[in-house]
């Protein structure tokens, strides 16, 4: 399996495949970057080319100021939704995963059924809007946060459950003998040990919620509630003739996941392959 054991032909196939993969997967990102720097006129040509003039700052400020600083509002809303939802997902997910793993009972089947349903079943959108309206949560950021919690819970619970299975019960027992209350055991003994899986979950769920387009489209209509993905979608029709600005917007939406990816590569891989090897 080492490089030495490869024949020349295999080596060449590898090189060709490598070059092809690099071209196919990198070109679109270079394209976004170049387009975002061009003038309006040059961008309209759609060419994959080095920009003749670099208009980074002017394009950036123009996109940010468009529609009365809508992009800034969008970033603020998206951040609020992401932070709120991920916090609750961590807390609720850990609590359910903990009980599920530590206290086997007939209820577990019900919880597992719920997890399975949550992973597989597509949300019934219009009835959800009906429920949100009844609770006065439709078109509100709070409502959006709770929706993301409801949709992301199953994944959090599964990840926490399998991680908590690796924490020896002796730790709980020791705390119980010391007279700790249930909540104290959870907060002081268990939660600190969950750090690795929590970091994974924060990263993976943040990216998913930040990139979510469909759910805000349904549950968060209206100008004052725009999210980053919704603004990008709306700019598509507004910037019909200003592709440099449209691509600057795409660039701005792509950078946060890139930064997260560079710093948390390992955690993302762990989260994405969780449960992959063993059903």
């Amino acid at each position: 399996m080492t490089r030495n054991s490869l024949s020349v032909r295999q080596r060449n196939t590898g090189l060709i495949a490598t070059a092809a993969a690099a071209v196919i997967f990198i070109t679109p990102f270079l394209y976004i970057f170049f387009m975002a720097m061009k003038t309006k006129k040059e961008a309209a040509l759609f060419l994959f080319s080095w920009p003749r003039e670099w208009h980074f700052w002017s394009n950036l400020t123009e996109v940010i100021m468009a529609r009365n600083y809508m992009l800034l509002l969008a970033y603020m809303n998206s951040t609020l939704i992401t932070v709120g939802a991920v916090t609750l997902l961590i807390l609720f997910g850990a609590m359910v995963g903990y009980i599920l793993q530590r206290r086997p009972s007939g209820w577990n089947r019900l919880i597992y059924a719920g997890v399975l349903v949550g992973l597989m079943v597509p949300p019934a959108v219009v009835p959800t809007i009906w429920v949100l309206q009844g609770l006065h949560l439709f078109k509100t950021l709070q409502g959006m946060v709770l929706i993301q919690v409801a949709y992301g819970l199953a994944f959090s619970v599964l990840l926490y459950r399998s991680f908590i299975a690796t924490i020896p019960r002796d730790l709980d027992e020791a705390a119980i003998i010391d007279g700790a209350k249930p909540l104290q055991i959870f907060v002081k003994v268990i939660l600190p040990l969950l750090r690795p899986v929590t970091v994974t979950l924060i990263v993976v769920q943040s990216i998913a919620i930040f990139n979510d387009f469909t759910n805000p489209l349904y549950y968060l209509p209206g100008k004052e509630n725009v999210t980053v993905q919704l603004t990008l979608f709306n700019f598509q029709s507004q910037f019909q003739s200003q592709f440099n600005l449209l691509f600057m917007n795409i660039l701005l939406v792509t950078i946060p996941p890139l930064i997260v990816f560079v710093f948390f590569n390992r955690q993302i891989v762990a989260g994405m392959t969780a449960g992959a090897v063993k059903g």
Binding site: G14, T18, M120, A276
Partner: protein, 287 residues
């Protein structure tokens, strides 16, 4: 006889259960009722199976259903085959292996809307980079996203580009779990690399294959945002899928019909995934 209260109280489950039940289970259960009504969110008038009848009578709604199946099958099949090939390539110790893994995986993390808009430009019939490149080698490229016979497959290709990295990642984890002893034994028996792939890799990477197929099928059947960002179901209804039909009916104010579409999507996923899961688990290999 009073028992000591458990150190693992059930109320820990309560906050999660309240959110999940009210915002996920209640709407799901309610959808069965509302799909049989004419509904404006305030009053619902029972009309029996009319919405479903309409769904299977209107040609464009039926096309949405057929397209959903085609789309899910095409994306799932291509992702599992190419994902495995890429994973084998990216575990064979080639140059820049780590960097290439990142490059293949990164599109998974990028905004679907951003990817959709980018490919709209790349696939432009006259000015797009793809057709420009094809014209250099003398090929007259088609209108990828505006040809009714091609649009759905072009969107499926964009989905493949964006999603194959996840399949690759899962396969890489699966390949890493295969003990080198098997390859050692196969080599001693004189197996070629191709034989090793078919006789050792493929059977032993099965758990990863099951995950990739299941995940990409569910994702493909539910797919909405990539289609909405590129073709909005067009031209005509040629690239409409169930999820985009649901959104269009919702926009038009046909809430009962939209909900019927939702129930059909739900049943479709259940009909495909449950037997598949059962079939996969019944053929588990023993080692």
């Amino acid at each position: 006889m009073k028992q000591r209260p458990s150190p693992y109280p059930y109320w820990f489950v309560l906050p999660a259960a309240v959110v999940f039940v009210t915002l996920f289970l209640v709407p799901t259960v309610a959808s069965f009722w509302f799909s049989m009504t004419r509904w404006d969110l305030f009053t619902a008038e029972f009309i029996g199976w009319d919405n479903y009848r309409q769904f299977f009578k209107e040609p464009f709604l039926v096309q949405g259903l057929v397209n959903t199946l085609i789309y899910a099958f095409v994306t799932s099949a291509t992702k599992s085959v190419l994902g495995l090939l890429l994973a084998v390539l990216l575990t064979s110790g080639i140059l820049w292996q780590g960097f290439l893994r990142s490059v293949v995986f990164f599109p998974v993390l990028v905004s679907t809307i951003g990817v959709g808009i980018t490919f709209q430009a790349l696939m432009h019939p006259t000015k797009g980079v793809i057709n420009l490149a094809l014209s250099w080698v003398g090929i007259d490229g088609p209108s990828w996203l505006s040809d009714p016979g091609l649009a759905l497959y072009s969107v499926a290709f964009i989905d493949l580009w964006k999603g194959v990295g996840l399949a690759t990642l899962i396969y890489i984890a699966g390949l890493a779990a295969i003990s080198p002893d098997y390859y050692e034994a196969a080599r001693i028996d004189g197996a070629t690399r191709i034989q090793q792939f078919w006789r050792v890799t493929l059977p032993l990477v099965r758990p990863a294959t099951v995950t990739v197929i299941t995940l990409s099928l569910i994702g493909g059947l539910r797919s909405f945002d990539i289609i909405w960002a590129t073709t909005r179901g067009g031209p005509g209804f040629s690239s409409d899928v169930l999820a985009s039909v649901i959104y269009k009916q919702y926009q038009a104010g046909f809430y009962g019909l939209a909900t019927a579409g939702n129930v059909i999507l739900f049943l479709l996923i259940a009909i495909i995934i449950l037997p598949l899961t059962w079939w996969f688990s019944s053929r588990e290999v023993d080692l």
